[in-house]
């Protein structure tokens, strides 16, 4: 073991790595936002009593939860231009793929959260003349979302980590930049140690702030 760490490589390529971190964060953020919207729709349709509504949602969830994310990424990247006729760049197709993937998990969290709310809440609301939509928006979801925060954070942290897969398709995220840098500088140890810490800081910060939000909301329960 005659290896001397030289972290100067980080200092010299600071801006380059920061650019990658920015791509990682923005791809994750957009995928999360889209995934939340699709997930909410999935969660609600999964709860429908009508089979033709709930069954497609169930299939969607099963497909995306039971195939590798990398395969999904590849599939969207190659299949989407063929299906839609629109040429998409790697960043867009990766973001789409991650959105679809995370939405399956978020959909299950929404479903569980909504189901965990006592039926009496819905009955009380409906007995007052409030519609299904109003009941969801004003009564069920505000209570359910509190309970969903911990699993949401888990999924978000997981998403940040497997967003590194996009580097395989040439998206210049943190992992991709690190890869490029390590082949040009021959300093993979320093570079990958460093980006591991960057991922760790991002994810830990997220978990911490989620804990704080949770504690603040818990006052009411």
């Amino acid at each position: 073991m005659e290896y001397t760490f030289q972290f100067s490589v980080i200092r010299d390529n600071w801006a380059y790595l920061l650019q990658g971190a920015w791509i990682t964060v923005s791809v994750t953020a957009v995928a999360l936002a889209a995934g939340l919207i699709i997930g909410l729709v999935l969660g609600m349709t999964r709860l429908s009593k009508r089979k033709w509504v709930s069954l497609p949602a169930l299939c969607y969830v099963e497909i995306f939860r039971n195939t590798p994310a990398l395969v999904q990424l590849m599939w969207v990247y190659y299949a989407l231009p063929v299906l839609t006729g629109i040429e998409l760049n790697a960043v867009v197709s990766c973001t789409v793929a991650l959105s679809l993937n995370i939405s399956a998990y978020l959909g299950e969290i929404f479903r569980g959260g909504i189901q965990s709310i006592d039926r009496g809440q819905v009955e009380a609301s409906r007995s007052l003349g409030m519609s299904y939509g109003q009941t969801m928006r004003k009564i069920v979801l505000p209570q359910a979302i509190r309970r969903m925060i911990p699993p949401f954070v888990n999924e978000t942290v997981a998403l940040i980590k497997y967003s590194s897969l996009v580097s395989i398709l040439g998206v210049a995220d943190l992992t991709y930049q690190a890869n490029v840098l390590s082949t040009t500088t021959f300093r993979p140890m320093e570079i990958f140690s460093f980006i591991a810490i960057v991922y760790l800081v991002i994810c830990a910060a997220l978990s911490y702030s989620a804990q704080r939000i949770e504690r603040r909301l818990a006052v009411v329960d």
Binding site: D118, G120, Q121, E123, A124, S125, R126, S127, L128, G129, M130, S131, Y132, Q134, K138, I139, P142, Q143, R146, V220, D221
Partner: protein
């Protein structure tokens, strides 16, 4: 106390849970301003009957009218089909319901609980809805609990907020589903007092309860349900003083 026009009319109401029949062709009419108390053992169908009136429970057959308006489509073959959601919402908004387990919205304060439906359904502006909410909370004796969340209130206080919440929609009919059954004995009185006050003001009420004292004192008519049918009904002094049916006597002997 009541004029002749019925506020609620139920004809031939039947309902099963799976293969178990819970209502067997119920006929019932409740006059405007009348207070009807339904008694009977658990499983006799009284709660289900109550819940059918605002279609929280869907009967299989029969007709339901509230204030002379049907609550669903009455099909040729006797089957009952609930109205589509929007129509049903409008009708439900005129029927207040109070539940055994209060079902207050735990993420909202007492005032927000009361003001929610007027804002969402009647489209009152916040200021008006809040004003209404304060008035109603004062009416049930909870002026000092306006900003309290349900988990900071006693059971009796929660149930009184729930009554105020139902009253906020200015209902023409109030349904009480064992409103005091989940309460500690010392808290029952305050809720019954609020219900008595409502009855005095001329509210039409259908009350499922095990509080025979309340039935005796407040009811215009008592219905005794057994096995999904109304076995016996009459003025409280008749039912309690001189029950005609063997089952009624057994029930009263056990509960009194």
């Amino acid at each position: 106390m009541s004029d002749n026009k019925p506020m609620v009319r139920v004809e031939g109401l039947s309902k099963s849970f799976g293969s178990l029949p819970v209502l067997r062709g119920i006929d019932m009419a409740v006059a405007k301003g009348e207070v009807v108390v339904m008694i009977g053992v658990s499983g006799s169908g009284k709660t289900t009957l109550l819940r059918c009136i605002n279609v929280l429970e869907t009967p299989e057959r029969g007709r339901i009218f509230v204030d002379d308006e049907p609550m669903g489509v009455h099909l040729e073959n006797g089957a009952f089909k609930p109205f589509p959601e929007r129509q049903l919402n409008e009708k439900r908004s005129h029927i207040g319901m109070v539940f055994q387990r209060f079902n207050l919205f735990p993420h909202l304060t007492a005032l927000e609980n009361v003001a929610m439906a007027p804002t969402m359904v009647k489209k009152l502006v916040k200021r008006e809805a809040d004003e209404l909410g304060r008035q109603l909370l004062a009416k049930v004796g909870l002026s000092d609990k306006v900003d309290a969340y349900p988990n900071k209130l006693s059971g009796g206080q929660q149930q009184r907020v729930a009554i105020a919440r139902a009253l906020a929609m200015n209902p023409k009919l109030m349904l009480f589903d064992e409103a005091t059954s989940a309460l500690d004995p010392e808290l029952i009185g305050e809720v019954l007092e609020t219900m008595k006050q409502l009855a005095k003001e001329g509210m039409t009420m259908i009350v499922v309860t095990h509080e025979m004292g309340f039935a005796r004192e407040v009811a215009d008519r008592v219905l005794f349900l057994h096995g999904g049918s109304i076995l016996e009904q009459g003025r409280p002094e008749e039912i309690f003083g001189n029950p005609q049916h063997e089952r009624t006597r057994e029930f009263l002997a056990r509960i009194l």
